[in-house]
């Protein structure tokens, strides 16, 4: 793995994380916010893979598997919360919850 590859891969991970963060801040729909959390988790996992590939060690992929488990549990609980709120919030708007809509 050349240094240029390393730069491209790490830049990709950083770009994905920033896009997810921007979406999390900008979007108000709960579904989109959860999607952006997924994007950020995935970017962090990719950074682990890149580091593991750089040193030729399996620990990067091991950490990726643990991140996968975390993401699965998070999505299960988050989507259950969204489903429970979907009857009471119009458009699942996060601002609505702050104003006491729930």
């Amino acid at each position: 793995m050349s240094a240029q590859d390393l730069e491209i891969a790490l830049a990709l991970a950083a770009a994905l994380f920033v896009i997810g963060l921007a979406g999390m801040i900008a979007r108000r729909s709960l579904v989109f916010m959860l999607l952006c959390a997924e994007i950020m988790l995935n970017a962090a996992g990719f950074a682990f893979i890149v580091a593991g590939a750089r040193w030729g060690r399996p620990e990067g992929q091991t950490m990726f598997i643990f991140l996968l488990v975390t993401a699965a549990a998070e999505v299960a609980v988050g989507l259950a919360l969204i489903l429970a709120l979907s009857g009471r919030l119009k458009d699942l708007d996060a601002d609505e919850m702050r104003s006491g809509g729930a």
């Binding site: 590859d5 990709l12 999607l35 992929q61 598997i65 979907s86 458009d91 699942l92």
Partner: protein, 169 residues
């Protein structure tokens, strides 16, 4: 320089931007699946084949399908997306397919960088690490999955006796 990685990175950034910019959640999910495919190709080009397979199977195959189920169950999305919604994701996927075909048939050396000091990390090494020094972490991950399952069930159940939303402790 690894052209496979660079093109996959471009596709990943483009499709992830499209995810954030979509108005409807179903369209965003389509682009997010393409984004995960692109990341899987990038991982493959880095020699992490096991993680690439997991990315497709678990992220695109399980987690996003869960998202699609819930978006459809909420039903605030209006009608099912028409054929026009598929054009953008399909074009990006064709780029990835071309990359994979090129890597498998024309330049197999790209996927397993021979000669470099950091060759591909095989699934066997990952498994040995996972169930050797990190076995305790695997058990803790199992606890986490179980608690996620119980939590999702508890939040999602609807029995008339409890308060709405299952807010019982």
């Amino acid at each position: 320089m690894n052209a496979l990685l660079a093109i996959a990175a471009l596709v990943a950034v483009a499709s992830t931007m499209a995810v954030v910019l979509q108005r409807r959640a179903v369209h965003a999910l389509l682009y997010l699946i393409v984004s995960f495919f692109a990341l899987a190709v990038a991982m493959l080009s880095l020699g992490a084949a096991f993680a690439a397979a997991l990315e497709v199977v678990v992220y695109a195959g399980a987690i996003l399908v869960l998202f699609v189920f819930v978006v459809m169950m909420i039903g605030s999305e209006g009608p099912v997306p028409g054929p026009k919604a598929w054009i953008g994701p399909a074009c990006l996927s064709v780029v990835l397919l071309g990359e994979l075909a090129y890597a498998f048939f024309a330049a197999p050396g790209l996927l397993a960088p021979a000669g470099s000091p950091t060759a591909a990390v095989s699934p066997k090494e990952v498994g040995l690490a996972l169930f050797g020094p990190y076995a305790v972490c695997v058990e803790i991950a199992a606890f986490l999955l179980l608690s996620g399952l119980v939590g999702a069930y508890h939040i999602g159940r609807r029995d008339p006796g409890s308060r709405p939303g299952g807010g019982k402790t």
